[in-house]
């Protein structure tokens, strides 16, 4: 972590160093990740094994896709979407019902993604028309959504032996089948965010709402666009989640929330909006997903893991705050 100040204190007006500052996040993440891997490997040489790779990659899949959705909300100035658990469970329930009806996997995916987008649109509608703070709205919709879901079902599970069931348990090229879509989504979204008009405007709205509005960008349309896109990713994550989770209930996804937010912050996607590189999510999610596995190899119990994650989240928030304070706005 000591790398951060060294890179970040570079004079902002110097183009070369500023560009290095952008990649500073990558260098920092890669070094802490490598340090963790090496330390664990030294303690337990059998850490470097295919089983470990699989364990970490499976953990990455759902968190990674959710982090992309969370990142879109953050970069567009929506701070955080606290309703991801409810959106995930709702879309997951749809995925289960559709696969119970015998639909092929692609249609299950479409159904879940559309459900997630509808969930996002609902959030956006409340935020836009009631003119409320996105954090408060998503906090409320998550609470209400989970309570309502509990009235509909207590347990859901994709049918044993169904296409989606196998999807959650198969490997492709030595890595989980559900890991590859996550990789693709992060790489493609990272590219689109930096190179499309939509991506530019999303970033601009998060960076300075008033300036974006003055340039003729519709804030309402952007709000709907970002929440529906983010919801779509939650819907897709729900397919990955349902494929592997076995029986799940409305509260099963709540533990994911902290990890997802920590991943977004560690990746340098500012919660203040307007800044971030989605490719960094690959590193932050990879690093965060390695921690619990490493802890187990070190022989630490699962209770210490939650403490560890809490501490890490605090460090991440501190880094984010430090970055924000440094910008002379």
């Amino acid at each position: 972590m000591s790398l951060a100040p060294a890179i970040e204190t570079a004079p902002p007006a110097m183009p070369f160093k500023a560009r290095l500052g952008g990649w500073g996040t990558a260098i920092l993440l890669l070094s802490v990740w490598a340090a963790l891997l090496i330390a664990t490997g030294l303690y337990r040489p059998d850490f470097f094994a295919h089983q470990t790779l699989l364990a970490i990659a499976f953990t990455m899949a759902v968190v990674g896709v959710l982090a992309v959705g969370q990142g879109i909300i953050a970069i567009s100035g929506g701070f955080i979407d606290l309703s991801q658990p409810a959106g995930l469970i709702l879309s997951g329930l749809i995925a289960v019902r559709l696969s119970e009806a015998g639909l092929p996997l692609p249609l299950v995916v479409v159904g879940a993604v559309l459900t997630g987008m509808a969930w996002g649109a609902l959030n956006a509608a409340i935020i836009v028309f009631a003119k409320l703070n996105p954090v408060i709205v998503t906090l409320a919709t998550n609470f209400i959504g989970l309570a309502a879901l509990y009235l509909i079902f207590q347990l859901a599970q994709v049918p044993n032996g169904s296409e989606i069931y196998h999807f959650g348990r198969t490997n492709i090229l030595g890595l989980p089948a559900i890991w590859w879509p996550m990789l693709l989504i992060i790489v493609v979204t990272g590219f689109l965010m930096r190179s499309t008009r939509y991506g530019r405007r999303t970033t601009a709205v998060g960076g300075n709402r008033a300036a974006a509005k003055a340039r003729g960008i519709s804030l309402k349309a952007m709000r709907f666009g970002t929440f529906m896109a983010a919801g779509g990713f939650v819907g897709f994550a729900a397919v990955l989640f349902a494929s592997a989770a076995g029986p799940f209930n409305p509260s099963s996804a709540s533990t994911l929330q902290l990890n997802v937010i920590a991943a977004v912050i560690l990746a340098g996607i500012s919660l203040a909006g307007g800044r971030g590189n989605f490719w960094m999510l690959l590193l932050s999610v990879g690093f965060l997903s390695t921690i619990p596995t490493s802890l187990v190899f070190f022989g630490l119990s699962s209770d210490t893991q939650s403490i560890f994650q809490g501490v890490l989240l605090m460090i991440a928030v501190a880094i984010d705050g430090y970055r924000a304070r440094r910008s002379p706005t």
């Binding site: 004079p11 902002p12 007006a13 110097m14 183009p15 500023a18 560009r19 689109l192 190179s195 499309t196 008009r197 939509y198 530019r200 405007r201 970033t203 601009a204 998060g206 960076g207 300075n208 008033a210 300036a211 974006a212 509005k213 003055a214 340039r215 003729g216 960008i217 500012s270 909006g273 307007g274 800044r275 910008s327 002379p328 706005t329």
Partner: protein
């Protein structure tokens, strides 16, 4: 500027916010390649008038005429489409984005390649090249067009925002206190860019509380008091004391007829 029809006329604009009358009756003419200064005491209604001309605030009454056609400016986009570019006091730029991205904000060029276009991809190469061209033409100096503008000086930021107007082929640029937060050297830089705009066929409306500055850059000055435009003077036929007198009320404003006359005179 002689004989030409005004590029922009604001006629008897009114606007109230609830019980507060921000504009009672404000009129303003702007001719091609002209810089008009707009002055008045705090709360005289200058910013409100500019916001109306930028489509940010809707007028309660009055007409806006551009190229002899009455227009309705309902949104910021309408004003931009009508060729009006507004540079705001503080909300011009997105700090986290680079200079060229800011210059193109809201009007990002799409790639010429149809496939890339389909995927909404932008043409960064072209935007960078054009941004560089325009900044050079206005002699605006920034460290790099590729780094976030948050580190740039106030003068550089104002110049970037002004350069935007030229880049998009605007004919009217509106500036609300563009030098309010700037040091002496930076102010000079911004005024230079404003003078340069004239060469590029752009007309300018500028609000400032600095009389010396206005006299050095403007062709005419319109004075506002309590929501009314009360007088317009040609810079070479007036002096600072007269303008200050008009602002404070020490010198009475012109009658409506005189106002019309003085507008006609300067046009003639």
């Amino acid at each position: 500027m002689q004989d030409a029809a005004p590029v922009l006329e604001a006629r008897h604009i009114r606007r109230h916010f609830g019980a507060v009358v921000a504009l009672a009756d404000a009129s303003l003419n702007l001719y091609p390649r002209e810089v008009v200064g707009l002055v008045g005491d705090n709360g005289a209604g200058k910013s409100t008038l500019l916001k109306i001309l930028s489509g940010i605030v809707a007028p309660s009454g009055g007409d806006i005429v551009i190229d002899s056609k009455t227009v309705l400016l309902r949104r910021a986009q309408d004003a931009m489409d009508a060729g009006i570019e507004t540079v705001y006091q503080d909300l011009a730029l997105v700090d986290t984005m680079s200079a060229y991205q800011n210059v193109y904000l809201g009007r990002e060029e799409l790639s010429p390649n149809p496939v890339a276009r389909f995927f909404n991809l932008v043409d960064d190469k072209k935007m960078r090249a054009r941004a560089r061209e325009v900044l050079d033409a206005l002699q605006v100096k920034v460290p790099s067009i590729n780094v976030a503008v948050k580190g740039m000086s106030g003068g550089q930021r104002q110049c970037l925002a002004i350069a935007r107007a030229l880049l998009w082929g605007r004919r009217i640029v509106i500036l609300d206190e563009p030098t309010a937060a700037l040091g002496v050297r930076e102010t000079g830089q911004v005024l230079e860019v404003i003078r340069d705009l004239r060469k590029h066929d752009v007309s300018v409306i500028i609000v400032s509380h600095n009389m010396q500055q206005l006299m050095s850059v403007a062709d005419r000055i319109t004075v506002m008091r309590l929501g009314r435009s009360i007088a317009t003077r040609t810079v070479k036929d007036t002096e600072v004391n007269e303008i200050v007198g008009l602002i404070t009320g020490a010198i009475p404003g012109d009658s409506p007829e005189a106002l019309a006359q003085s507008a006609a005179q300067s046009a003639a």
